[in-house]
Amino acid sequence: MTVEYEIEIMGQRLNERIKKIFGRSLHIREVDAGSCNACEVEATALSNPIYDIERFGIHIVASPRHADMLLVTGPVTRNMELALLKTYNATPSPKLVAAMGSCACNGGIFGETYATGGGVDRYIPVDVYIPGCPPRPQAVIFGIMVAVDKLSQKKTPYSETPYLNTGIKGTTRLEHEI
């Protein structure tokens, strides 16, 4: 009873926080920079009735010109490099970039070859890294929250990071050192 109640209270607080951060409006443009399409499966899943990110006011939009955030997947292939840069430049500032999936973070299994660049941050500044191959939709939602938190930090400095003390584990630093 008490645990459930606690979770509920926590959930409500978090809910308010999410609404405050998102302002019920975040527009995302997904850019595939050469992924294997597994990340696309999960990005599509974000707008299905189960995850339904529209409930936070997050929309996936058709053009980078409408977007606040780019969700980039794939290791950035040689042939997509120009298209990615054009998309980035077409997005109005302030903008966020999230690298979704291990390829986008670091090249993943494709690494760096004659045809791939080995990560999104070699081409455009990345605000949040979402590892996973592919990340679960929940992990992507978490990643989007971290990214938006960064945006709010850009505007007004936040003293504390959200999602601490919420039962949701944050990022991990160097640990297990002896």
Binding site: A43, M80, F110
Partner: protein, 522 residues
């Protein structure tokens, strides 16, 4: 059985066969390079065997030549004929078979880009994989090319086919699309609303996968195979594993075979559900899409419970599977019976809505002869009256033990493809149930540390159609791995499917073919 074809070839072309070798169900014939066009034409037109794969290998170190291999499938005897010709490095030219067999079109252009061997007489000798900014003389799949080379960007121009006439205009689309899909460029020529020409340009997601495979150890390569086309992970991994197991002569335990079959079918179920949801979305029938997406999500969550990965990754390994799923039998059966019940209800409902059926009937037709000529595979082929299915014609894993029907329709339109998929979902669930009920006891994996040198084909029927791997090993590593995703065959068909349709119907046609960009571009 299959010898009747070999005998016929020998009778007609006996003196141009230089070498013959047989391994398992694959017959390799080395042919004089001058007669290859005639011989391929003979096999294709007279013996009526489909050309399923053309690829090259760089064997200059061992044999001093490049080799080009042409794979024909004998469906009724579960066998393959593989012709190969030797190409000398000093005269890197071979005769194109595309004027005779349209299905060879992209394969030959790919060989031209990746190996620098020129197909003489090819009707469309433009670049395919490389873009115009790639300098001349960069041939990534040659053995002397270092994978880490970063070729500079040069000036160049890609010439699109032009359609001219009064009132004809072009609509360029992509590579970054409006929806959450992969990148590719489409150029429509339209007169009013109807499309009179479509040219597709792909290979934006070319990652050099075939080069990455080279010199990779077998264990790692399985994971790379899973990532050739993300939503067909299992089909690719199993095809790769089967090729290597064939080389090593490993017969995997029956329990592992059953588990692989279950995984392959789970993959088919969630892919088909996603495609049906996509079609409902594209005709703006949100309620149908929501329900189909919900079912897809249920299967994805089931996948995660069973294998630890929503896309069924990390389950296959050389010699079997990495995890046993026997203890989750009840859960899978229960969940799938729910999915099947809901799905039947949904499909019945979708097919009773006139505005939906009206929109997809006669839309995006691929006629039987077009499909056959381009070697269209998978559900798209079965919706155009081509009765081929690797699970039945070249049985692998444990498909031999199960009863299932291969749905066949003749109309070739979006409706037919949707109905084929819907029927396949039910068949797949049937196969999973049979496999779970008859799951044999025993090991799930044979460990093998040493893979002998050799080469072999591996194949599966992915949700999109036949997936082929041809693997050559050397010193326990991969020397060459040719991957052929079903999308590589089907992409050209879309140029024909859209003709005389209106531009707003293009997304539905595209979705109904459900093609992978990554699997095509690699």
């Amino acid at each position: 059985m299959k010898t009747e074809y070999i005998d016929a070839i020998k009778k007609e072309f006996g003196n141009s066969i230089l070498k013959e070798s047989v391994s398992d169900n694959e017959t390799y014939l080395t042919i004089k390079k001058e007669t290859i066009v005639k011989l391929c034409d003979y096999i294709y037109s007279h013996l009526d065997l489909p050309l399923v794969l053309v690829f090259a290998t760089d064997e200059r170190k061992t044999d001093g030549v490049f080799k080009i291999h042409y794979v024909f499938s004998i469906d009724k005897d579960d066998a393959f004929i593989i012709l190969n010709i030797n190409i000398d490095e000093k005269t890197p030219v071979f005769n194109s078979i595309t004027p005779k067999i349209a299905a060879a079109n992209w394969y030959e252009r790919e060989i031209q880009d990746m190996f620098g061997l020129r197909p003489a007489g090819h009707p469309d000798p433009r670049r395919l994989v490389h873009f115009e900014d790639m300098p001349a003389g960069v041939y990534p799949l040659r053995k002397d090319f270092d994978i880490r080379t970063k070729p500079p960007r040069v000036e160049g121009e890609y010439v699109y086919r032009r359609v001219e006439g009064e009132g004809v205009y072009e609509i360029p689309v992509g590579p970054v699309h409006a929806g959450v899909i992969e990148p590719g460029h489409f150029r429509f020529s339209v007169a009013g609303e109807p499309i009179i020409n479509l040219e597709i340009r792909h290979f934006y997601t070319h990652k050099g996968v075939e080069k990455l495979f080279e010199n990779m150890s077998m264990d790692k390569a399985v994971f790379l195979a899973e990532r050739v086309s993300g939503d067909n992970s299992v089909a690719h991994a199993v095809a790769f594993c089967q090729a290597v197991e064939n080389i090593a002569g490993i017969d995997i335990p029956p329990r592992a075979k059953h588990i692989r079959t279950i995984l392959l079918e789970l993959e088919r179920v969630y892919n088909h559900l996603g495609d049906i949801a996509g079609i409902a979305t594209d005709v703006a029938f949100a309620m149908g899409a929501a329900h189909a997406n919900k079912l897809k999500e249920e299967v994805l969550q089931l996948n995660e419970k069973v294998t630890g990965s929503r896309l069924l990754r990390g389950m296959n390994a050389i010699g079997g599977v990495r995890r046993d799923i026997g203890d989750k039998k009840e859960g899978i059966l229960l969940e799938l019976s729910d999915v099947q019940h809901d799905f039947r209800e949904l499909i019945e409902y979708l097919m009773s809505i006139p505005s939906l059926v009206d929109r997809i009937e006669t839309t995006g037709r691929i006629y039987n002869d077009t499909a056959k000529g381009l070697h269209v595979v998978g559900p798209a082929a079965r919706a155009s009256g081509i009765d081929r299915d690797m699970r039945r014609d070249h049985p692998y894993a444990s498909y031999r033990d199960f009863n299932f029907k291969v749905p066949l329709h003749k109309a070739g339109d979006v409706l037919a493809r949707t109905v084929v998929r819907a029927d396949e979902v039910c068949e797949s669930i049937g196969i999973i149930e049979q496999a779970l009920w008859s799951l044999p006891e025993g090991d799930i994996r044979i460990k093998s540390s040493q893979i002998p040198d050799g080469f072999s084909l591996g194949y599966t029927e992915a949700p999109r159609g036949e997936t082929l791997y041809w693997v050559m090993t050397e010193n326990n590593r991969i020397k060459r791995c040719k991957v052929r995703d079903p999308s590589f065959c089907n992409w050209l068909a879309i140029e024909y499917a859209v003709l005389d349709n209106i531009v707003p119907d293009f997304p539905i046609i595209n979705k109904s073919l459900s093609l992978s960009y990554s699997g095509n571009d690699m």
